[in-house]
């Protein structure tokens, strides 16, 4: 009796990795999923923060896919290790700050380490040749194999027929003839295969799952680095870039202004790390102030914040100014007029 082979599948929560996994499971291979959390994953965060989004049904797509497939899912925190991928990408960035090729190589390398530690035989990804401009091209696919160290233990079931046979194929662990030759950006073959397997509900095909592909997010990250004069970050930094309006009225400080109650509540969690202000005389946002500020800076910040409060048309809005050590003062300011908030202050 032959040994049942074991594969780990990189599960993003999208359709392609779901299909790739199913294709290999159908061949009698034991498959478990692995999902890497970099801190930039779109999954869930903003939905969890904003009140208006709380009413929408929310699920973690990677967990959901694993449950549909009936496989285990290992979610791995790679936040710290991922910093080097983002800060020093050997292959550069895509349109924004997305280091897609380095990212794929990193994740496959982590999966390779995982299979060695857990006695699994090979790795599956849902990559489709020609689908992504950086990491899923015919010339870059071997780069991922080589730089991850996984070599021919990396099997891409959806486009395997365009690639040289991997070890699982050569050894007969999987039948090459039952794999696919998908190519290009069309989603039709995947949709047809989804229909074949009876998958009618799946995350938006080809949907972005990383904040680093987002132009506005990338600009906020660059702004943060520029004004700190160093390209470092912690998890809190990258979480805060996903929340609120970000305005920089003066080069040495930034305001993070909650847009609604849910964001205000989330920002409350940072009140011991930041000087913050909140209106007392009117309803309005909680505002974190990031940077070393003078009294004059705080006065300006309050005038800006007043513009986003219900006191925007009042002569005076009273604020409470609270330092991280809970020292409290009050401050009365006149709200800035709409035309006094320079467009370039918005990050």
């Amino acid at each position: 009796m032959s040994t049942q082979r074991k594969a780990v599948s990189l599960i993003s929560g999208g359709l392609d990795s779901m299909l790739a996994t199913k294709v290999i499971m159908e061949q009698g291979v034991h498959v478990e999923g692995i999902n890497f959390f970099t801190g930039f994953c779109v999954e869930g965060h903003t939905h969890a923060i904003r009140n208006r989004d709380r009413k929408k049904p929310k699920r973690n797509n990677a967990l959901w896919v694993a449950e549909q497939l009936g496989i285990k899912l290992h979610i791995v925190d790679v936040i710290d290790e991922y910093k080097d991928v983002l800060l020093n990408p050997k292959h550069g960035y895509g349109q924004n700050l997305n280091p897609c090729l380095d990212c794929k190589g990193f994740m496959v390398r982590k999966a390779y380490e995982w299979i060695r530690a857990n006695n699994f035989d090979f790795i599956i990804t849902g990559e489709v040749m020609g689908q992504r401009p950086m990491s899923q091209r015919k010339d870059t696919m071997p780069v991922v194999q080589r730089e991850s160290g996984a070599g021919d233990l990396l099997l891409r079931p959806l486009c395997a027929k365009h690639l040289p046979p991997t070890l699982p194929e050569r050894e007969g662990w999987v039948k090459r003839e039952s794999l696919y030759g998908f190519n290009g950006r069309s989603r039709k073959p995947q949709m047809a295969l989804a229909q074949h397997y009876g998958f009618s509900d799946y995350a938006t095909p080809a949907g972005g799952c990383c904040f680093l592909t987002d132009k506005a997010y990338s600009e906020k990250l660059v702004d943060m680095w520029q004004h700190r004069s160093t390209r470092v970050y912690e998890l809190d930094d990258i979480m805060l870039l996903k929340v609120g309006r970000h305005l920089r009225p003066r080069p040495h400080f930034k305001m993070i202004i909650s847009r609604e109650e849910g964001e205000g509540k989330f920002l409350e969690g940072y009140r011991k790390q930041f000087l913050h202000i909140r209106p007392l005389s009117h309803k309005g946002p909680l505002v974190l102030i990031d940077g070393e500020v003078s009294d004059d800076d705080v006065h300006l910040a309050a005038r800006v914040a007043a513009r986003y409060s219900q006191g925007r048309d009042a002569d005076v809005v009273e604020f409470e100014v609270i330092s991280p050590d809970e020292h409290r003062e009050t401050l009365k300011v006149a709200p800035l007029g709409q035309d006094e908030i320079a467009p370039e202050w918005h990050i």
Binding site: H30, E32, N35, F37, C41, E43, G44, H45, H47, A48, I49, R54, K58, R59, N60, A62, L63, W64, A66, E67, G70, I71, K72, L73, H74, I75, V76, D77, N118, N119, F120, M239, G269
Partner: protein
């Protein structure tokens, strides 16, 4: 009231971090032990039960206390043989 073997503070963390922290805590526990998770992201009400179902653990209860969501998990409570988690 059932004995709680371990408590996990996952407050202020956004999903999937509470799931990851719970997964890491469970990996160090024995079958039949109970983990209590304190979280604030409402996403945990879906994500932790989903993670438990696919990994063979049982969610004994989900409760809300003030701003906290409190989830009690029985490790291996669904009797699934664990394959590689431990």
């Amino acid at each position: 009231m059932a004995y709680i073997d371990k408590e996990l503070d996952a407050r202020r963390l956004l999903c999937p971090l509470p799931v990851i922290r719970a997964q890491d805590a469970v990996a160090l526990m024995q079958a039949g032990q109970r983990l209590r998770v304190f979280a604030t992201d409402p996403g945990v009400k879906n994500d932790i039960p989903a993670w438990c179902r696919i990994n063979g653990h049982k969610v004994e209860s989900i409760a809300e206390q003030d701003d906290d969501i409190v989830i009690t998990i029985e490790v291996d409570g669904l009797g699934t043989t664990k394959f590689s988690d431990r």
